[in-house]
Symmetry: C2
Subunit: 284 residues, 2 copies
């Protein structure tokens, strides 16, 4: 998905909020803001939002002199999500439609996002998810595709959300699953460390994508990751960042599972902000 | 008031929205956005928001090839406000505290602002104003200052709002009143044309400030305007833009009358967004 002009003020706004949240000194906040403004004035608008977000977070890390400012936040949400694991399993177990319940819960986990929304209640989101209707519902097609597939690449999004992904992955134990994560820290996105902390290695082959973009920019990804992507029968991509970077990729069956977090994506996906989406790509 | 870093994403966001509202072609929208981003990356953050807004609107006018894109909007609101004039006069006449009622109504008129909020109902705002409490209420001091003053400079803000200012000005007919307006069009701010259209010349000496900033940047203003400013016993300044540019000016008794339209001003003035403010300057 190409950047919309509306994405730019949102990126600038995120920069201002995050730089305050991360404790940057006022002078450094202004320095970062100026650099992000300059970058935004020069960058190509023909690429996806994660292309520019990647550059913004590189600047943040440089000015903070910290390559992983969300480390503690990620650890906190890994632990918090793990505490929910038994009750989530119970919810799925007691459900008439286990698969759909697991899908909804995996989308609920997508709320743990410090890029677009920093205020959320994980508990309330889980509760709401249990009776939530999907705004876009290609779950039937996803289920059929899963039955047919043997090799599945599941692309994670945020740390902690990985636990919710695990709940869904555990619903198809007979498949060969690869769980893809970011190659380097960006916002609170899951890296190998987070996937391991949440026990994803017990249900999937973990693979880093080799990139520090908050999405999956294939040309940035490692050769190994691209091979797995190419060889997969099916890709399940979590979160807006993966949607924004992969929704125009052709020749591959991809399902996007995410919570709609902004008006731009709402308009693009044709559903309301806050909506839950299970969407099959058109070009697959 | 110096620019806060939070003002920058707001200015960028306004640029995106206004350029769409004003019918700029997509390529021109992007061109304008890039220019505003570059400008925002270079501009001094030690000046007030109207300093940068002035430059932004110059860019908008240049790219639109139209020095007054809000002309029709301004004419519409001049006419609409004039329709309310008789009922507003009636409200004031039937009030136990005429002065306070007139003050509140003049602040209600401040809602006609296409810079910060483009969606509003003038009728509903007037209705609400009649029973609204002032968030900051220096009306008593304003009234006393008016009694003592002989020469008063009243600084208008938006077109149409001028009618509401007239209602207030008509409450002190014995004073020598100057009504100041912007020197050139910027957003929907009132110029001489709008003040004349609303009959302000029947209650005050009209004076252009000679500047195209959406506020009163004294060093930008004409010699004539500055003389009137200097010689006034009292300045009544309407709107956030005048507050942002004059709230640190010393040696002059200034009262700021405005509706709070953003979190930055809310924090600065210590009251909620949507609040009505009558504030005496500290340095007067």
């Amino acid at each position: 998905m190409k950047l919309y002009t509306d994405c730019i003020p949102c990126i600038i706004s995120q920069t201002v909020k995050l730089s305050a949240d991360l404790g940057l000194k006022p002078d450094d906040q202004k320095k970062l803001l100026r650099e992000v403004l300059l970058l935004s004035s020069e960058v190509s608008y023909d690429r996806s939002p994660p292309h520019i977000a990647k550059e913004v977070y590189r600047l943040i890390h440089k000015i903070l002199k910290n390559p992983d400012p969300y480390r503690k936040v990620k650890e906190k949400y890994n632990q918090l999500a793990l505490k929910f694991y038994p009750s989530l399993k119970e919810e799925v177990k007691n459900s008439r439609d286990r698969f759909k319940k697991a899908v909804k819960l995996s989308i609920a986990g997508n709320v743990i996002d410090f890029g677009s929304n920093r205020k959320f209640s994980l508990e309330k989101t889980i509760k709401d998810a249990l009776r939530k209707r999907l705004s876009v519902d290609h779950t039937g097609s996803l289920k059929r595709s899963l039955i047919e597939a043997s090799k599945v690449l599941y692309l994670g999004d945020n740390a902690g959300e990985t636990v919710f992904d695990r709940i869904l992955i555990e619903e198809f134990p007979e498949k060969q699953i690869y769980y893809g994560v970011r190659g380097s820290p960006v916002i609170n996105d899951a890296t190998l460390k987070d996937a391991l902390a949440c026990g994803l290695d017990s249900v999937a082959h973990l693979i880093s994508n080799g990139s520090d973009a908050p999405g999956t920019i294939l040309e940035d990804c490692s050769f190994e990751f691209k091979s797995v992507f190419d060889q997969s029968d099916l890709v399940i991509a979590k979160g807006q960042g993966n949607y924004e970077t992969l929704n125009e990729v052709g020749g591959k069956k991809i399902f996007f599972l995410f919570m709609v977090k902004c008006p731009v994506i709402a308009a693009d996906a044709g559903c309301p902000v806050g909506g839950y989406v299970v969407m099959e790509n058109k070009s697959g």
